[in-house]
């Protein structure tokens, strides 16, 4: 027993130094002012940032749903492939993650721009000419960059692996005898999926959602590069308080704290919902 404790020490120390202490600092900063006194001043104006909170949560929600809609079928199909194929696909999913996050997002900028790759391709294929002739319009490009859609796209692209990998690793481990038993008892493939595979894959889905939603809410560079910086997200707002124009770590900490609480509530609600579902179906 004691030995097990010893094995946990590095992790406990790590968590204490790099998670607990910073959290305490965030709380401390949030409730103090630049002059050092205790204050609630930092929270007083939180209302004026409501639009940023709402926008961030909404875009992160959209990105998470899209990741789930793409990621789940992908993981499911993948788990049915042979081991060689699986390895290749997992590799392909991981591959973009070997490239720097910033660079990947910058690349999307030049793909989506009005004079970017997609629009240039459509122009050279004569698509715009065709449309203009038929509808008597005068478009030369499709506006994609600097929209909220581009921001969501950037989130989906960057965080999709975090959805696929946990779901895949759970589905792949589902005991095939459970599925065979269901089939023996006369369940069709739809029923097998609905009653066996999906409920058993829920833990993967839940951790996938968490791993996409949380970084998506707090991302800051995606909206800057793909959103044009005109509609900032929470991450940008916080970054601005620490590294940007409005240097105010106290306000930044207060915003971070509120964000953390909102994320915690989201996760709590989702986990409760998930647990109930899982038990109900299996029982």
């Amino acid at each position: 027993m004691r030995r097990r404790y010893i094995a946990a020490i590095p992790h406990v120390v790590w968590m204490a130094v790099f998670v607990v202490v910073p959290l305490i600092l965030v709380v401390f900063y949030a409730f103090t002012s630049a002059t050092g006194g205790l204050t609630l001043e930092n929270f007083r104006n939180m209302g004026s940032y409501m639009s940023v909170f709402a926008r961030s949560l909404w875009l992160a929600f959209l990105a998470t749903i899209i990741c789930l809609l793409i990621g789940y079928p992908l993981s499911y199909v993948l788990s049915k492939e042979g081991p060689g194929m699986q390895r290749i696909f997992i590799m392909l999913i991981m591959l973009p993650m070997w490239i720097n996050f910033l660079l990947r997002t910058y690349a999307w900028m030049s793909i989506l721009e009005n004079t970017g790759l997609i629009n240039r391709l459509l122009t050279s294929l004569g698509i715009f000419d065709l449309i203009n002739r038929i509808f008597n319009t005068n478009i030369t490009y499709i506006p994609m960059i600097n929209t909220q859609g581009a921001v969501v796209l950037g989130m989906v692209y960057n965080y999709l692996p975090f959805m696929v990998l946990p779901i895949y690793s759970v589905i792949v481990k589902i005991d095939s005898s459970l599925i065979e038993a269901a089939q023996d008892l006369g369940a069709g493939s739809m029923t097998v999926f609905k009653r066996i595979i999906f409920p058993l894959s829920l833990p993967g889905v839940l951790s996938g959602i968490t791993m996409v939603f949380v970084p998506a809410v707090s991302t800051f560079i995606i909206s800057k590069l793909l959103g044009g910086g005109t509609s900032i997200l929470l991450g940008d707002l916080i970054e601005m308080q620490f590294l940007g124009n409005a240097y105010n770590p106290h306000l930044g900490s207060a915003i971070s704290l509120i964000m953390m609480i909102i994320i915690m509530i989201c996760m709590f609600v989702m986990n409760r919902f998930g647990e109930g579902e899982e038990q109900a179906v299996i029982m």
């Binding site: 009005n114 044009g228 707002l237 940007g244």
Partner: protein, 347 residues
């Protein structure tokens, strides 16, 4: 067994690298330079290292405000920083700069008298000027047929979706203040609010807030017009001849960026050597060829050929300079108002 062997090998290698790294650190003299992006000829670092044996660690920032935040947060060890005028006076006021030992900077004599003892550092104790220039409008003549003469172009719905704006509060507010005819150093709340309202209106026709991304956007024809610094404008015009630079008739900002040493710098002497090196005539010339920013080093200016000296973007004529305003550091309440308005604008 094989695994064990390879593990040992890897560990040994790592240890070797780490140890050699430590050993090297002890003897290698360094100077940590923190500068604006796209603002130096990095090849001169090798010359400096050859001359002095000091290695230059070079990193960049995007705006004066970012530099300020990084310094204020602490935990950094920069030896040379290159803020602009108003930021220098703020740093001096807040006691964040070291006084320079000019005995170590004999090349200070090369600096043109015009750029010494400027308002931001009246006794010239803390800074050595590095570049100077003006802010202006850069626009693509193949996309905009009109001749641009006024800041108003930035707020003209005619160019909707084609306009870029500074992604830092001081410069962005200045574009609006110039257009409204107010001083860029105003502390009048009503005037600042009016400028803010103008920026809010502008947001609906804006393509985006940018700093160095403006290079890609203007050179590639993605955007048609945006405000930026003269030196960068010249670099962009080299890559896209359709681009033009104009100093608006309402006047503009004249800036001086100067080299300073932040309080508590570890390698202060190396930093002074580096500053001295940058004021060397040949180095200043070489650096200027890459950055396209006008140099305050008089001896370098005198060594320039007639064509470069008559470049009015790099060395604006007096009628332009007379229309210019230099940013001053603002009182704390005004700075707070700037911060509030900027966050409100962006969210």
């Amino acid at each position: 067994m094989k695994r064990l062997v390879s593990l040992v090998l890897v560990l040994a290698l790592t240890a070797a690298v780490l140890l050699s790294g430590c050993a090297k650190k002890q003897e290698q003299k360094v100077v940590n330079v923190y500068n604006w992006g796209e603002n130096i000829d990095e090849s001169i670092f090798k010359i400096f290292e050859k001359q002095t044996g000091i290695k230059v660690n070079y990193t960049t920032y995007e705006s004066n405000e970012q530099l300020y935040a990084v310094l204020k947060m602490g935990g950094t060890n920069y030896d040379v920083i290159i803020p602009s005028d108003y930021m220098i006076s703020r740093l001096i006021e807040e006691g964040m700069l070291e006084k320079l030992d000019f005995n170590n900077i004999p090349n200070f004599d090369n600096i043109d008298e015009r750029y010494k003892n400027l308002e931001y550092d009246p006794a010239n104790e803390y800074s050595v000027p590095y570049t100077w220039g003006v802010v202006g409008l850069i626009y693509n003549t193949s996309m905009i047929d009109d001749e641009i003469t006024s800041w108003g172009a930035l707020f003209d719905p005619k160019y909707s979706g084609q306009i870029l704006q500074f992604d830092n509060s001081r410069d962005a507010m200045a574009t609006a203040l110039f257009h409204l005819g107010y001083s860029v150093n105003t502390t009048d709340e009503a005037e600042l609010n009016e400028a803010y309202e103008l920026l809010v209106q502008q947001k609906t026709i804006l393509q985006g807030y940018v700093m160095d991304q403006i290079y890609d956007k203007l050179e590639g024809g993605e955007a048609a017009i945006g405000p930026y610094y003269a030196g960068d404008a010249l670099l962009m015009m080299e890559n896209n001849p359709d681009l033009a630079f104009v100093v608006p008739e309402e006047g503009t900002n004249l800036f001086v960026d100067a080299m300073c040493i932040p309080k508590g710098a570890v390698n202060k002497e190396n930093a002074e050597l580096f500053i001295n090196f940058m004021c060397d005539t040949d180095i200043a010339l070489k650096n200027m060829a890459v950055t396209c920013y006008a140099t305050p080093v008089r001896t370098a200016y005198e060594a320039l050929d007639e064509e470069t000296r008559s470049n009015e973007i790099m060395f604006p004529k007096d009628d332009v300079l007379n229309r210019c305003q230099i940013y001053k550091n603002l009182p704390q309440e005004t700075l707070n108002l700037y911060d509030q308005l900027w966050v409100k604008l962006k969210s």
